[in-house]
Amino acid sequence: MPMPNTPFSRSDPPDPPPLITVRGLTFYRGDRAIFRDVDLDIQRGKVTAIMGPSGAGKTTLLRLIGGQIRPHAGRIEVDGACVHELGRRELYQLRKRMSMLFQSGALFTDLSVFDNVAFPLREHTRLSEALIRILVLMKLEAVGLRGARDLMPSELSGGMARRAALARSIALDPMMIMYDEPFSGQDPITMGVLIKLIRTLNDALGLTSIIVSHDVKETASIADYIYLLSEGSIVDHGSPQTLERSRSAWVEQFLHALPDGPMSFHYPAAAYAQDLSLAQEPSP
Amino acid sequence: MGAFKKMELAVGVFVALGLAAFFMLAMKVSNIAELGEDKGYKVTARFENIGGLKVRAPVTLAGVRIGRVVGIGLDTHTYEAVVTLSIEPRYDRLPTDSSASILTSGVLGEQYVGLEPGGMDEYLKNGGALKLTQSALVLEKLIGRMLTNAVSGDNPPAKTP
């Protein structure tokens, strides 16, 4: 993988064409630019992580890729199709092949775990109930929840809910999965389980995975490629090893969770806060 | 799936209850019989004044409902109201000299047509007419008459002394 050193460089893709290409993406929320002229590529079959501090617009990026919101400028192509130029019918066709794991899991609270996983199958296929049952049990087995099939979502722990949702998101055998903060708020054991699941599912099913996260260690441990996002731009990108060796002060600060550095975590009020604390501690 | 079956059953019961409610409203509360095809024979009656009589008002004989009013018109020559009554076919033995009056059921009740059977051997047929009629009592006229009577009756004694 070539080592990129400028944040805005058009990354030259390796051999197979990327599954997702984003070019010149610009998106505003109100007056605030969430993205300013962002370019990125998601390679097929790889686990790509998009990391950045909270509020950097990571989730928004997933929603843009999923076509739930439209960019103000730029293009997002998924498997050759420009997402925001598709009609509703074509977009829905495309979405059957992509899948998203929401932060909360977003299980349907009125359906049991089994019915949740069966939901996309019942909606989009005309398979018999017997066949659906087999498929659902296979997906549940993959996430280790075959025994929990009759539980309601309210009876699941956070980690189990995420795994059940993961089973649901692979129900239609998609080409890609987008994970929105899969690790946040999980205990270390659950995190370990999720990390392993994301990696094994990606490799076993030949998926393309996109992980949006600010959990550096966990994400870096499974990602093939990482984009670092801050204040609407890509600060750096590369494989975990490359980034580890990066001399950029910002990357250093983010990856090693240093409390201070070029990046202030207190977004708009940062300067003011530092001003107030100047009296007590010497400025760096 | 068992739960869904139960739910279907509950919904079925609900819809059946709703329909039963409408059935009751139609059959027991309103008079759906009046909406049936009108098979009765028509008889006309002329009144000087029909008061507040409405189409679909009942026609009764001896207090029993035997038909209803199906039309109200005005004869522009005689300035009489022409009321068309529809009498159920099974009451086909009404003497031709029967009389019709417009009555009021109770103080607040609505007006209806009451028939008094006559004594003739011939019976009313479709298109027949009731000759003897008594108009509605119009309350204002009654009160007016009572007042004039009272005034004319009161005045003479007042003058004498």
Binding site: R63, G66, Q68, R88, Y92, Q93, L94, R95, K96, M98, S99, M100, F102, Q103, S104, A106, L107, F108, T109, F119, P120, E123, H124, A165, R168, L172 | F4, M7, E8, A10, V11, V13, F14, V15, L17, G18, L19, A20, A21, F22, M24, L25, A26, K28, V29, S30, N31, I32, E34, L35, R56, P58, G106, V107, L108, G109, E110
Partner: protein, 260 residues
């Protein structure tokens, strides 16, 4: 003065904006109906939660309202010796006004608020987003079945309310106060018209109310700000707005059907 006018202008624009969005929402809702027609089981599930579950409150309220009508009607008519008219008083008030209107108000409180809260919560917990990402249109899968089920349930509930109310009136008048049973029913039958009172009164009114109530309930859920506070506001708005609109529409319909 200027300030007041500006505030008036702002709230007018705000309401027009909402009305516009609600109309667009309704159009998309209607365009999802053909999809729903292929899967009526979705609406049956909703018919259970808006219809069957509303049945107890509707039946109980109908019974009590009918009994109160019987008592009040008797107390007022007995002075004129016209207690035989009690049947028609009870039946006409219920069929023309109280049945459809009270059923709609109770529906807004029982089922409408629940619809708003349910949809709002689905939105907050990303269930609707998840559904969209699974290429399932929430209009066809979530909103339309609820809307249609509500419109089907409303006239049935109003009919049940009216019928139970009349039975309640009968119970008080005939069983308790000694009004003649024959007079009660015959007076009722001779005045209540199937088309004018039952069809126009109960059926048409309650279908219109059902349309309004469910449109508001589903839209408020759809439009809710996805926070717990947003849902609570939306739920309140559903009940308040439905009540106001139902009463206003009732006036128009009454003027249309029963006005001179």
């Amino acid at each position: 003065m200027i300030d007041g006018l500006r505030r008036l202008g702002r709230s007018t624009l705000f309401w027009l904006n909402r009305l516009g969005r609600a109309t667009l929402f309704l159009l998309r809702l209607l365009s999802a109906l053909p999809t729903l027609a292929k899967r009526p089981s979705l609406a049956i599930r909703q018919l259970y939660s808006v219809g069957v579950l509303s049945l107890p409150i509707i039946a109980m309220s109908g019974l009590f309202v009918g009994m109160v009508l019987g008592l009040q009607g008797y107390a007022n008519l007995v002075d004129f010796g016209a207690t035989s008219s009690l049947g028609r008083v009870v039946a006409l008030s219920l069929a023309r006004e109280l049945g459809p209107v009270l059923a709609a108000l109770l529906y807004a409180a029982r089922a409408g608020s629940a619809l708003t809260a349910e949809i709002g919560l689905m939105k907050t917990t990303e269930q609707l987003s998840a559904m969209q990402m699974m290429a399932v249109d929430p209009f066809a899968r979530v909103y339309a079945p609820r809307f249609v089920a509500g419109i089907i349930a409303m006239p049935l509930l109003a009919g049940i309310f009216t019928a139970v109310g009349i039975l309640g009136g009968y119970f008080v008048a005939v069983q308790q106060l000694g009004v003649d049973s024959g007079a009660f029913w015959s007076q009722m039958q001779s005045t209540v018209k199937l088309f004018d009172d039952v069809i126009n009164g109960v059926v048409i009114k309650s279908v219109v109310f059902g349309w309004v109530a469910n449109w508001i309930a589903v839209f408020e859920g759809y439009d809710a700000i996805p926070t717990s506070e947003g849902i609570s506001l939306a739920t309140t708005r559903t009940v308040v707005n439905t009540s106001l609109v139902v009463l206003a529409v009732d006036f128009v319909l009454t003027a249309l059907f029963f006005g001179v």
